[in-house]
């Protein structure tokens, strides 16, 4: 059926040019000197080195967890894997269908009805027309919107919006699943049903890359952990070893 899922990252670096705003302000120069992450490219522009020389190879069955402090480059790495940020150096090769859960409100429009939002998501994913009714049925059923499905999302309760967003994000099953930490932080995950649906999606994926601050989730779901620090790989290996190093203490076996 489909190709074998594979991710190959070779010497990838990503630099953010600082074009807008006061990129050369004194404050930023001081911060730069302190962190050593600001530099200048060949054209003397100020850039942030968000990722430096990342090497990574993932095969079918791999479940990779990304850990690291805020701003370590976890989300940037997910965006690189999703093909959103194209590498400045190095090479990225991805095989297999991919779904990146990065933005909870991707394509969600508050002025549209629930049904229209579902169809729009289908279009964003380039689904052919015959598949749209199935997507609609699946999302509507999970989100339990019943009569609200044909009303604008604007009038939904907060819980309904979360359910719809969650149902939309988890409706399309990819071979490669990239998940950012926000996804596990929502209230929706605490519902047993949502947890079940998410776990089903994770199990169904050939490759999982998950970024999270919650060590328990990484430990439960991942078979490999990558510790990012200031855009560089600090450690890469089995969850036990890397997590205990990351936390500074040996990991307790729960």
């Amino acid at each position: 059926m489909a190709v074998r899922a594979r991710i190959e990252v070779e010497n990838v670096s990503v630099w953010f040019p600082l074009y807008h705003g006061s990129s050369r302000s004194l404050k930023k120069m001081v911060v730069a000197a302190a962190s050593g992450r600001l530099g200048q490219d060949q054209q003397q522009r100020v850039v942030v080195r968000a990722l430096q020389d990342i090497n990574l190879s993932l095969e079918q069955g791999d479940r990779l967890g990304l850990v690291g402090s805020n701003g370590a480059g976890k989300t940037t790495l997910l965006r690189v894997l999703a093909g959103i940020y194209e590498p400045v150096t190095g090479r990225l090769r991805v095989q297999g269908s991919l779904n990146a859960l990065l933005d909870p409100s991707l394509g969600m429009n508050m002025e549209l009805t629930g049904r229209e939002n579902i169809l729009l998501r289908g279009l964003y994913n380039g689904l052919p027309k015959p598949m749209l009714p199935r997507l609609e049925e699946d999302v509507a059923q999970f989100a339990e919107l019943s009569d609200f499905l044909d009303l604008p999302v604007r009038i939904y309760s907060a819980g309904m919006v979360v359910r719809l967003g969650f149902a939309l994000a988890t409706a399309i099953k990819p071979q490669i699943l990239l998940m950012d930490e926000w996804f596990l932080a929502g209230d929706a995950v605490f519902l047993e049903k949502a947890k079940h649906r998410l776990e089903e999606m994770v199990r169904g994926a050939d490759i999982l890359v998950l970024s999270s601050h919650q060590v328990e989730i990484i430990r439960d779901w991942c078979t490999r952990v990558l510790w990012l620090d200031q855009g560089k790989i600090r450690a890469d290996g089995a969850p036990q070893a890397v997590l205990s190093q990351y936390l500074g203490t040996p990991l307790e076996i729960a």
Partner: protein, 290 residues
């Protein structure tokens, strides 16, 4: 793209895809990726149409007449300007008003396209930063949105032509090749301006000022013949050429239509070459700029 069929569950499976991105790309792989962008964008035509329609629908949400407010405001503007200028220029209103209605509507399309082309990518920032999406989809969206506006405004032209019974006849069909050229130019222009304005935020105000000047320099509210001897120089203005290839046939053949076509093709070629050259280099960087 292939979609595995599974009937027993409601599971929707994502389309298979592959990705190969290399930094330090050669010119040929840059072109390959840019062509790939256009091809994938064309496959997502249904999304581009949906987004274009949505923009219009949301702009007029809750209003009773909806997008027909566009028709009404253009109609009022044309009627007011028509009466004013036919008096000022001492022209026969039955001759001037159809000309003005047509020119004003077509110019409105061109200038809105140029101005909105600047925000093609910046307005889609959240989508561009959360999913890999061909950039040509957003260019198509800007084009489709403005075509819908044009579609509503055509009513003003039809009504004016009906009042003064100035039907163009079969010759009017010659406007169609002109409109096709507009589509090509519109896509080239939105890709170019969208990327350029994402990188240099000062461009948009400059573009808007230039378009303001072009409105007066181009025969939109005045007729080319009023220029007298200077008329021969008009084809040097790209907006005149583009306007004339559509307007000329609809008004029963302007004197300059052939020259305008030469100019329009020449300027369009230049635009496409510049746009492609910039887009192939900028495509991978746009995400970092917005």
């Amino acid at each position: 793209m292939r979609y595995p069929r599974r009937v027993m569950s409601t599971t929707t499976i994502a389309a298979t895809a592959s990705l190969d991105l290399k930094a330090d790309m050669s010119a040929s792989s840059r072109h390959r990726l840019a062509i790939d962008d256009l091809v994938r964008g064309a496959r997502l035509w249904r999304l581009a149409f949906a987004l274009g329609w949505l923009d219009i629908r949301l702009r007029y949400r809750g209003s009773m007449l909806g997008p027909f407010w566009l028709t009404i405001s253009t109609g009022v503007m044309v009627a007011a300007l028509g009466v004013l200028y036919s008096t000022l220029f001492k022209m026969d209103i039955s001759d001037y008003l159809p000309f003005l209605a047509l020119s004003q509507v077509l110019w409105g399309f061109l200038s809105a396209l140029v101005s909105e082309g600047c925000t093609t990518f910046t307005e889609a920032e959240s989508v561009i930063r959360s999913v890999r999406m061909p950039f040509s989809v957003f260019a198509a969206r800007t084009l489709i949105r403005n075509t819908i506006v044009l579609g509503h405004n055509i009513l003003v032209i039809v009504v004016t032509f009906a009042i003064f019974s100035r039907w163009p006849g079969w010759e009017g069909l010659m406007a169609i090749p002109g409109l096709l050229l507009w589509i090509v130019d519109a896509l080239a222009l939105t890709l170019l301006l969208g990327a350029f304005c994402a990188r240099f935020r000062d461009i948009q105000p400059i573009v808007n000022s230039v378009m303001q000047i072009m409105f007066f320099v181009t025969p939109v509210i005045w007729k080319p013949e009023q220029l007298g001897t200077g008329m021969a120089k008009l084809p040097l203005n790209p907006f005149f050429d583009l306007l004339e290839i559509v307007r000329g046939p609809l008004l029963g053949g302007g004197a300059l239509t052939t020259t305008a076509w030469l100019g329009a093709i020449g300027f369009s070629l230049m635009l496409c070459v510049v746009s492609w050259a910039f887009f192939t280099r900028a495509r991978g960087r746009i995400t970092f700029w917005i």
